[in-house]
Symmetry: C2
Subunit: 700 residues, 2 copies
């Protein structure tokens, strides 16, 4: 006889300990176990638990206290843990190729524990290897085996001290010398040093280095990637001609060694050009299957969507962890109360609900979007592997690029703001380092600027949308795209003519009305951005100036609104699908509605300005609906974070523990720290060496 | 012959070194020296330079690298520096009393160097001593002399582990024992331990402890303050019955030792009750000059405005420092550019201007407001000292309380968001710890939650405004207040009837039109908040529930809008005063207009919703005016931060140095760090001890 559903759940997902959170858990409208299994599936849940359990039972992972560790020791621990992940081999090379979602799950599990570890591991195992795999050819596959056995350790070196966003202006050079069949990698000056490269500071032996390829005769063929050995694997000492070092402490992720490198005429074999987009013959002739520089450049940076979607995932993990901590704290922390009555949990306050619950909805909505976009990307990569050169494949690439380019900003900013709100919502206790909200914020922060600064990236998305509009006007091309995110724009003129009509009093405002408002908003912002661009151009601005001057309040807002809508629409479709088990429909529908309304609420000015909203009622209804949803969701909030929360060991925040014993846990953690009650070693500086007031006289 | 103005300026304010920032400096519309002297006055400028110069020339202040220091060493350094400030005695005790602005200037100078130092110094010298001075009486003045000579070291112990915002619910007790004429200070359990107390962790010998005062017979007289010795000054060991320790690492300000204390029936002399608001006779009778508990409670916490205004000042300093770094970086960092031309400074981009320049305007506007509110507070305290019990004095107290209670949230949030924007606007280099934006953010962060959580504090201000509205409706009382911030509300019904009329095309939108819009907005939010409260009450809510349910979109927004308006109005009045030198009027007027418009732009939805705005043009005009002002101010931006910037040594950010040599400074600073080029000490962990892939098998 098969075990019952309940029996199976209990083994895999044991109940939480009883305690102060019990009251909220008992009031939840759904079973957290059912929602977790519905969202992730038993196999993924089991896999994650396996990873968590391995970390929890391994003494190497016992010490936390990131900020208290000296940098050198934190780096060492992070490296040792990375090596230990190889020993666990949670996924074989074959599983990694066949089940990319499990790779995501693994990285996110490691990241929940510590992003320094997850990023260190990913840069070597995923970014470095996939750069070689996708930009190189069979002659480079020997490196992949060495990556998987950790014979070498890798990094991805694109940005330079003085160039980040503008990658085309990278100044490192690679001159081909036919006499020795070698490339000469060279940094013209320190401003062209590779800089910020993760793993380069102390550990990498090899780097994928982007450099301007020159062939004899002086012709430059643009940016190409090369495999350059930077350290000797036997000693970890730098190779001759390579000046490589560590850029120092960052705001976060300090277990990771970000580094710099300058190359002084470093010679590498001709074979170490990653020749997927262009090659040089032994004699020094440049050959490429691509028609022009622009196309080749695009292909050589084609892996960016993967990085951006990964960053979305990282951001969402951070937001989830912060919410687990802040919501569990809010459900147990009591402050003030009705006259002559017990104090009430701060989660009962409207303000606290409004500060936290929309971010909880956002975490669910963004998580669903990120996973589904990842599946789209997997489809795209399947096409690349099978050599699909169809128009649909090209369109799919453009659409995913547009979605990843705005999805990363939306997710990283939502996480940044959400974590900050969580930190403040926990008051002073949120400012205590042991409660981890600071680490989450600091580790999340680079998500806003690396792999493309958020504001710069958003231009990719608005350019995509404006390009479609122009193509429609020029050629009568239809608005349609492989994953259908822009198809609604086919009704562009009709939508622009629509006006908001209040749902009748009896109707609850589910997400259909705000989704319709979003469609109008995007059409409006698209039209306004297009007009603004044309106005700038017709006023004599260059294309460069016109685009720059149409960002604020126009293209930038357009890209963000489009992204919010796309996330909201996908989450709406998902939560309203017939496959959703009936007991989960209520809570998922409320999350979907809250995310949509709350996101839309930042655009109310535009809805009025453009005439979609008129009268006081429209805006007030939206506010009332948001507050109402918050109030409806507050009794589900603890169960909703129970779905997201890793085990206490991984969450690692006394005020966020599953038992909800906030003060006991906090007090115990404080007393367990080093030298808590001891007097300071420098006590005589106060007790004996007294200052002589005014004994030093300052002078200007 | 007196030195010329120019000669004097050059000695006090030498020119900045030539370099990449020269181009912007040459384009500035005004002289930074003239603006600095106009805003601060020569005496303050000279005083600040004296302090900065003393720190720069003292080896004790040479080491920075806060995050790299072990906690114990950072605390020691901070204590030693605090002691050194006593030795410098920049201000005598008499000067401190007579020139409170100079005290502010001193604290801000120390804070620019390191907030841990400034806060440690302030908690002892200002907060501890002024608590004794204002809550106690002559019998306590003996302590003040010991504070100034550092014979004792003090802290202010109000919050407990489980109570912060709700101070009335503090649970520490002080039972009076007439047999020995002593109070028995006691913590009923660890949840009632004093917690978060700055200086308590390692250094304080004495604490002002807030406890519930009980007299024989069991009567509780509410919260009172007591002086409790917690450590022996001769040894820094805890006193019997006192369990005192350190709460551990925080997100920032880690040079400061925040601590906790539990009291086990600690006996203190009857004389050590700070008896300004109530006293106990030797026999055990409670006596007070106040009529009721509420009044007494208010008086005992009356010093809060001072703390809140100080926090405003701290926040503004942080914002200024971040802007100095980000704007100098933006003026030298070049990225992208027109086709076939040199790359342009990122400050030339509309997006970058819009991200940074409104915060620059905010720094100027908030700084002016904070200084002027401080002068109002000085007036209030003069009245207290001279025993003024007039109605005006009471009204002044209420008004300042309302302004400080919303001013702290506005300033701390503006700084929080502004620093984050600065950090992101500097891209990766802003994420490097040495560039200090992380420290600024982390040190600023508690400003959002201590001395009253921002969201909770805002209720004080909305309650004040709603109270005036109610008093008007009830008694026909006029809207007027000592510093006149609410006087415009006398025209409340008329203002509500106003509608926005577009200035004619030729007129530039100076700050008059947005100030008028703000007045309407505040009246609208006041009316809506009042209606919402009444609706809640008439629907059967208790007053407690009604107030809680009227916060979001109502009272909270009202308090913030009122505060923004008050800041904007004062800055407008200041910048448009005839005493402003003509060469400075242009730039100050633009800053004033930009701050007002930008702040107002977050309320456009309400302006439309309530009918003040109608049609597309109103909103578009505002957007265009903001962007236009940003564009006009970008050539002044470097000179404007030159006015705010402390010397490079104090600013302490390679990318923010006055010479603008961003890459040289950054590169030099990276290479100067410890073990930059050395291989890691744990290199054999990679080179020799190779992992055996899959040698460990994880199990669930």
């Amino acid at each position: 006889m098969a075990p019952t559903l309940e029996g199976r759940d209990d083994a895999l997902l044991p109940d939480f300990p009883k305690g102060p959170l019990q009251a909220y858990r008992a009031r939840a409208s759904f079973s957290w176990k059912e929602l977790l299994l519905f969202l992730e599936g038993e196999e993924t849940v089991r896999f994650k638990r396996t990873v968590f359990s391995a970390l929890e039972n391994d003494p190497l992972f016992a010490q936390r206290g990131r900020a208290d560790l000296p940098l050198e020791r934190y780096r060492e621990l992070t490296f040792l843990r990375c090596k230990r992940v190889f020993e666990y081999n949670f996924l074989s090379a074959e599983e990694m190729l066949q089940m990319p979602q499990k790779v995501s799950a693994l990285v996110n599990c490691l990241g929940m524990y510590d992003w320094s570890l997850a990023v260190k591991y990913s840069l070597h195992m995923l970014i470095f290897s996939s750069a070689i795999y996708s930009l190189g050819s069979e002659r480079h596959f020997k490196y992949i085996a060495k990556i998987f056995s950790m014979e070498i350790f890798g990094c991805f070196a694109l940005t330079e001290l003085s160039h980040g966003s503008n990658t085309k202006a990278i100044r490192t050079t690679a001159h081909y010398d036919p006499s020795s069949e070698e490339f000469i990698i060279h940094s013209p000056d320190f401003e062209a040093s590779k800089f910020w490269v993760g793993n380069m500071g102390k550990t990498a032996t090899h780097a994928v280095v982007f450099a301007q390829l020159h062939t004899p005769g002086g012709q430059c063929h643009g940016l190409h990637a090369f495999i350059v050995q930077i350290r000797d694997p036997k000693t970890l000492l730098p190779m001759p001609g390579v000046m490589v070092g560590d850029i120092g402490r960052k705001l976060g992720q300090n277990g990771l060694d970000n580094g710099f490198a300058m190359f002084h005429k470093v010679r590498i074999s001709r074979q170490d050009l990653l020749n997927g987009v262009g090659d040089v013959t032994p004699e020094g002739t440049y050959v490429t299957p691509f028609k022009d520089d622009r196309q080749r450049f695009g292909a050589s940076l084609g892996g960016l969507s993967f990085g951006r979607i990964s960053i979305m995932g990282m951001s969402i993990v951070n937001l989830k962890l912060a919410l687990c901590i802040a919501i569990r704290f809010s459900a147990t922390r009591r402050q003030f109360g009705p006259a002559n009555a017990e104090e009430i949990p701060i989660l009962e306050y409207q303000t606290q609900q409004w500060r936290l619950l929309p971010y909880l909805a956002a975490a669910y909505a963004l998580d669903h979007f990120c996973k589904s976009l990842f599946l789209d990307l997997v489809e795209l990569q399947q096409g690349l592997k099978t050599g699909d050169r169809s128009a649909r494949q090209a369109e799919l690439g453009r659409e995913i690029h547009a979605l990843a380019s705005a999805g990363k900003p939306l997710a990283s900013w939502t996480a940044q703001q959400g974590i900050q709100e969580c930190r403040e919502a926990c008051g002073g206790h949120g400012y205590l380092a042991m409660n981890r909200l600071g680490d989450l914020r600091d580790d999340n922060d680079p998500n806003c600027t690396y792999e493309g600064d958020n504001n710069v990236l958003l231009q990719q998305t608005s350019n995509y949308l404006l390009g479609l509009l122009e193509a429609g006007a020029r050629d009568g091309a239809r608005f349609e795209s492989p994953v259908k995110t822009v198809d609604f724009l086919e009704a562009y003129p009709d939508i622009l003519g629509q006006r908001f009509t209040c749902p009748s009093a009896g109707d609850s405002w589910d997400s259909l009305a705000p989704l319709a408002a979003y469609k109008w908003l995007i059409c409006y912002l698209l039209r306004e951005s297009d007009r603004k661009l044309n106005h700038e151009r017709s006023s004599g601005s260059s294309d460069f100036d016109a685009r720059n001057n149409a960002q604020v309040y126009h293209c930038r807002t357009l890209a963000l609104a489009f992204m919010e809508f796309t996330v909201a629409q996908r989450f709406h479709d998902f939560t309203h699908h017939p496959s959703v088990p009936p007991p989960l429909r209520g809570v998922l529908g409320r999350l979907s509605a809250l995310y949509t309304l709350w996101s839309l609420s930042s655009h109310v000015a535009s809805l009025y300005q453009g005439g979609y909203f008129s009268g006081e009622h429209a805006g007030k209804m939206m506010e009332a609906a948001i507050l109402d949803l918050c109030s409806q969701l507050k009794d589900d909030a603890v169960a909703l974070v129970d779905v997201l929360a890793p085990p206490d060991f991984v969450l690692d925040a006394p005020i966020g523990k599953a038992d909800g014993e906030v003060y006991q846990n906090l007090w115990a953690a404080v007393l367990q720290e080093s030298q808590v009650l001891e007097r300071a070693s420098w006590w005589p500086e106060f007790s004996i060496k007294k200052p002589v007031i005014g004994s030093l006289k300052p002078k200007l």
